[in-house]
């Protein structure tokens, strides 16, 4: 007992030396210390266990994304006021108040955020980062609040500015984690130019799936990635199950393994994806689209044949090697060119029609009104708008093989209709440079077999139509190709 009282006395003496004289300030420090400890203990008391709790918690918690922007704004304002306050002292006085207000808002937002995560059963690395960011940010703001009087009185000149800078960076990081939770971690980098992306996140460009040859990496992982990982991944780990790597997939979740190598019927994962879609336990949950039949077939075959991480082929499954279809690349904003486009349309009769009200969806070149008189020269006239044209409908126009030179410059073209035109396919290979082109219709033309062979080399193409041409494949060949594509 004597040992305890001695320690307490020692601590008190230490506090005496460190803390300022005034009693009220001492109380403030002590209260802050207690509050900080309480904040730090919060996640240990109410563990984020990945299970949803009370509804009222979620109800209040869902105001977190709204409330959180208030402290963010205020905290950005504080350093601004401090700096401008150098020239206009009244503003510096205001900074103290804003800082206090920011702290109060921080606590509010933190409380709502915690309710959201705890009540909604969120768990995972990013949730954790965001939570700890919020807690440390609140503590740091509190410390700033305490350190500011020293700085105002001139006792120290560096501590407060340094801490404020720290707060600013911590704020940025925490906010980014929050953003990643709402929008997904690739939100900022998704449309980043490739060179910049390589520099920012070298790993993210062209995932390993391309290089790896195992069936798991090439076919199983992408299925899980596209359908499951939003809830069973790094950012969110529902039921303690992660499906983003081979190891975690085999490890299973809280209730044990989900894959039984060699037995698709006993594997919980396959049981859950093959339930009737209305079933309570059906996966993917929450009305997300069910797995496609061929995806289930591949999963099932892979599990049945041992769920190997390295096997490159499976007996009875052959999948046509195809480059994954690229997501459509958004085009630039053409709204500024509307006047020019109208003039062009009035002169040519052909129209540039928006795909949708979103300019980034691009324009369709529609020639149906003037098809018989639309020639290569007219097409060349539209070259100016090429970067915005995603589909060119030249069916039954008077264009010829010469059009391929112009069309090769339509870099964003996804669909090209040339049915019923006079093209014979000479020069078709020029379209090979169109990386977005997935649809090519040459029905009812005189395209020759040798010209059509060029099409095989265009990797981005998914839908090619050669009906009623010299190059039309025999019906049996079509069926064989379709079989190869759909595999079973």
């Amino acid at each position: 007992m004597a040992w305890v009282s001695k320690t307490v006395k020692k601590l008190a003496a230490l506090a005496d030396r460190l803390l300022p004289e005034s009693r009220s300030i001492r109380v403030a420090w002590l209260a802050s210390l207690l509050l900080s400890v309480a904040l730090l203990l919060l996640p240990w008391i109410f563990k984020l266990d990945g299970k949803p709790h009370a509804d009222w918690q979620q109800f209040l918690g869902r105001f977190h994304p709204l409330a959180v922007h208030l402290p963010v704004g205020l905290l950005v304002l504080v350093p601004l006021l401090e700096i401008v306050g150098h020239f206009r002292p009244a503003l510096r006085e205001a900074a103290g108040f804003v800082l206090g207000l920011a702290f109060a808002c921080c606590l509010g937002a933190l409380a709502l955020g915690f309710l959201l995560a705890f009540g909604g059963g969120s768990a995972g690395a990013v949730v954790n980062h965001h939570m700890w960011g919020g807690i440390w940010l609140s503590i740091a703001v509190l410390l700033c609040l305490l350190a500011r009087p020293w700085w105002i009185s001139g006792a120290t000149s560096r501590v407060y500015p340094a801490m404020l800078t720290g707060v600013f960076f911590l704020l940025t990081w925490t906010a980014h984690q929050g953003g990643s939770l709402t929008h997904g971690s690739s939100y900022l980098t998704e449309y980043m130019p490739a060179p910049l992306k390589r520099w920012v996140a070298p790993g993210s460009v062209k995932a390993d799936a391309q290089n790896s040859v195992s069936f798991y990496a090439k076919h199983i992982n992408p299925i899980l990635d596209a359908n499951c990982v939003t809830c069973h991944g790094e950012d969110e780990t529902k039921g303690g199950l992660r499906l983003d790597s081979y190891e975690s997939l085999m490890k299973g979740g809280k209730d044990g393994p989900v894959i039984v190598p060699g037995s698709a019927d006993k594997s919980v994962l396959l049981q859950r994806v093959t339930l009737p879609p209305g079933h309570k336990q059906f996966m993917p949950a929450e009305g997300k689209p069910p797995l496609k039949p061929e995806e289930i077939a591949w999963l099932s075959a892979w599990v049945q044949q041992g769920a190997s991480p390295t096997a490159t082929t499976l007996a009875g499954v052959s999948i046509r090697e195809e480059q994954p279809e690229l997501p459509p690349q958004p085009v630039g904003d053409y709204s500024g060119l509307m006047a020019e486009i109208s003039t062009m349309e009035a002169g040519q009769g052909a129209k540039l029609v928006p795909v949708s009200r979103k300019p980034s969806d691009g324009l369709i070149l529609n020639t149906v009104d003037v098809a018989p008189s639309f020639t290569d020269a007219q097409l060349a006239g539209f070259q100016k708008f090429a970067p915005y044209i995603v589909e060119a409908n030249l069916a039954r126009t008077a264009v010829t093989n010469a059009s391929f030179d112009t069309l090769a410059k339509f870099t964003h073209l996804r669909a090209l209709h040339l049915e019923g035109t006079g093209v014979t396919g000479d020069g078709l290979q020029k379209l090979g440079s169109l990386s977005q082109l997935t649809y090519l219709n040459l029905s009812g033309t005189k395209v020759t077999t040798s010209a059509a062979a060029q099409i095989e080399k265009m990797k981005s193409l998914r839908h090619v139509y050669l009906y009623n041409t010299p190059a039309q494949p025999a019906p049996t060949e079509v069926a064989a190709k379709a079989d190869a594509r759909n595999t079973q």
């Binding site: 879609p277 529609n366 009906y467």
Partner: protein, 517 residues
């Protein structure tokens, strides 16, 4: 000049300050006029400005939007509406409408267990106190009539299809079969109005008119929305069709469907009479337009402009329709596919071929009507005829669209206005039976752009009487169709009779995600 005392023009007339009132009141008036009035007004102006910007560019203008935005004819166009709302999967649609209601039990909804229940009474619990039509409400009993035809499994999906549809059955891997469509109406006219216009009462625009209003035309030389009727077969029980089904309702009549005749000239008086050449016709139309424009200046009725637009369309159709209907350049493979019927104008197969040609030429919606499915009696006598008339056309159309690369962005729909009962109307024998109207479940199929193909959606109970799983209301169905065409059904509205009218009506409707690709 002496002003009248009540004159409110304060510039030169007497103001409040000239009135014989106490000076204190006058001072208060001035203060109000100068400060409070200003602040009050300024505040209101700011408030309205903020509200106007919050409500978007159309929020404050209400009905006036159509008349305020002249675009040649003073009618709102797709440019003004800024549609599609999102990039559509389908640019156009073909709707094969089986008027009269095909019996789902004999075609698509396979119920093998019913064979054992032949002539047993339908349990009352299944009917659940439902009010029946006047045609069977008086029946003493409701004997179960199993389908007379066998079913087989087809395609990789192993979907069961009746022997009556051997050709359509070959498409199953490409079809989206919905077994659980259900409607609120039990009689033809209200039901067919409901599924076409979203309302049982006439006066509302139909699907095609909404599409044509919302998405506009892809081909200036042809109507955006066209209707093809199949020639009547007198052996069948034909319910009448009226132009209400392709009417534009409260939308400008410019958006109404244009029907082609099923026999003779597709459009009457399309060719110029002897002695009238193209130039004379043009001059006459220009003169008529001038007169119409004067009428519009005078009365401001947008229907006048719709009339001008229709005259112009008719003029262009004089050249575009003969080209459309000229089948002489179709290759032999077309006739092999559609069959010999397709050479005779007005048959279902011919209309299917025309629908494909319209799709090629950018018609937004082609609706092909086939009547005669109202099989109240003699099912075994009439149904094979109906299927024989339509089966090959359906198969040929989908196959043709697919091989020509058009199915990627064309939505094809096959269906009627309701289903038919499992119990027999009138006498049930081993050889024959009849089926009454049944609104609680019926089967339709779709294929093409935007829908998930190779699936069967929804399940019915063992009597094909009630929906067991995943019901699809007519509203949800229409919302889904609009979705495939890039339209948010809640946003394509038109203010009429104090309501933001839409195809799906005021009752909430939902796009069915399970049907989408």
């Amino acid at each position: 000049m002496k002003q009248h005392p009540l004159c409110t023009d304060t510039e030169d007339g007497p103001s409040v300050l000239d009135l014989p009132i106490p000076a204190g009141l006058k001072q208060e008036w001035m203060a109000l006029e100068n400060r409070r009035r200003f602040l009050g007004r300024a505040g209101k102006v700011l408030g309205w400005a903020a509200m106007a910007s919050l409500l978007g560019d159309r929020g404050m203008s209400g009905d006036a939007r159509a008349a305020d935005k002249p675009n040649g004819y003073g009618l709102p166009s797709s440019d003004d509406l800024k549609l599609p709302h999102f990039a559509p999967k389908a640019k156009r649609a073909i709707y094969l409408f089986m008027s009269g209601a095909p019996p789902q039990i004999d075609l698509w909804d396979y119920k093998p267990n019913l064979a054992a229940l032949f002539d047993k009474d339908l349990p009352d619990s299944v009917r659940g106190g439902q009010q029946l039509t006047g045609m069977t409400a008086g029946q003493a009993r409701f004997p179960i009539a199993p389908s007379h035809w066998a079913f087989k499994r087809y395609g990789k999906t192993g979907t069961w299809v009746s022997d009556l549809l051997p050709n359509t059955a070959r498409l199953v891997d490409d079809l989206t079969i919905i077994k659980t469509l259900n409607t609120d109406a039990i009689n033809h006219e209200p039901a067919i109005m409901l599924i076409n216009t979203g309302n049982m009462n006439p006066g509302k625009p139909c699907l095609g008119s909404w599409l044509s209003y919302g998405l506009g035309s892809m081909n200036d030389n042809l109507p955006t929305f066209m209707v093809l009727q199949t020639k009547v077969n007198p052996k069948e029980n034909n319910q009448p069709l009226s132009s209400r089904l392709w009417s534009s309702g409260f939308l400008s009549s410019q958006y109404a469907g244009v029907g082609l005749r099923s026999g003779g000239d597709p459009v009457l008086y399309l060719t110029d009479p002897n002695g009238v050449d193209r130039e004379v016709r043009r001059k006459m139309l220009d003169a008529v337009e001038q007169i119409n424009r004067q009428t519009y200046e005078e009365l401001g009725d947008p229907e006048t402009n719709a009339r001008i637009a229709q005259y112009e369309m008719a003029y262009r159709m004089q050249t575009s329709v003969p080209e459309l209907a000229d089948l002489s350049k179709e290759p032999k493979s077309t006739w092999d596919l559609y069959g010999p019927d397709a050479k005779e104008p007005g048959t279902f197969a011919y209309n299917c071929l025309m629908a494909r040609r319209m799709a090629e030429r950018g018609v937004r919606l082609t609706q092909v009507y086939k009547r005669g499915w109202d099989v109240h009696g003699n099912v075994t006598g009439v149904l094979p005829i109906l299927c024989q008339e339509t089966d090959r056309g359906c198969y040929a159309l989908v196959t043709d669209l697919k091989q020509r690369g058009l199915l990627d962005d064309t939505l094809v729909i096959w269906g009627g206005e309701f289903g038919r009962t499992v119990y027999s109307q009138g006498g049930l024998t081993m050889e024959n039976y009849g089926r009454d109207h049944h609104p609680r479940c019926f089967t339709v199929w779709m294929t093409g752009g935007g829908v998930r193909t190779g699936i069967t959606y929804g399940e019915t109970d063992e009597y094909s009487y009630n929906v067991a799983k995943d019901p699809v209301t007519v509203r949800d169905f229409n919302a889904t169709v609009l979705h495939c065409l890039g339209i948010d059904h809640n946003k394509l509205t038109y203010k009429s009779q104090g309501l933001d009218q839409k195809l799906t009506g005021p009752v909430p409707a939902n796009v069915v995600p399970g049907l989408l690709a």
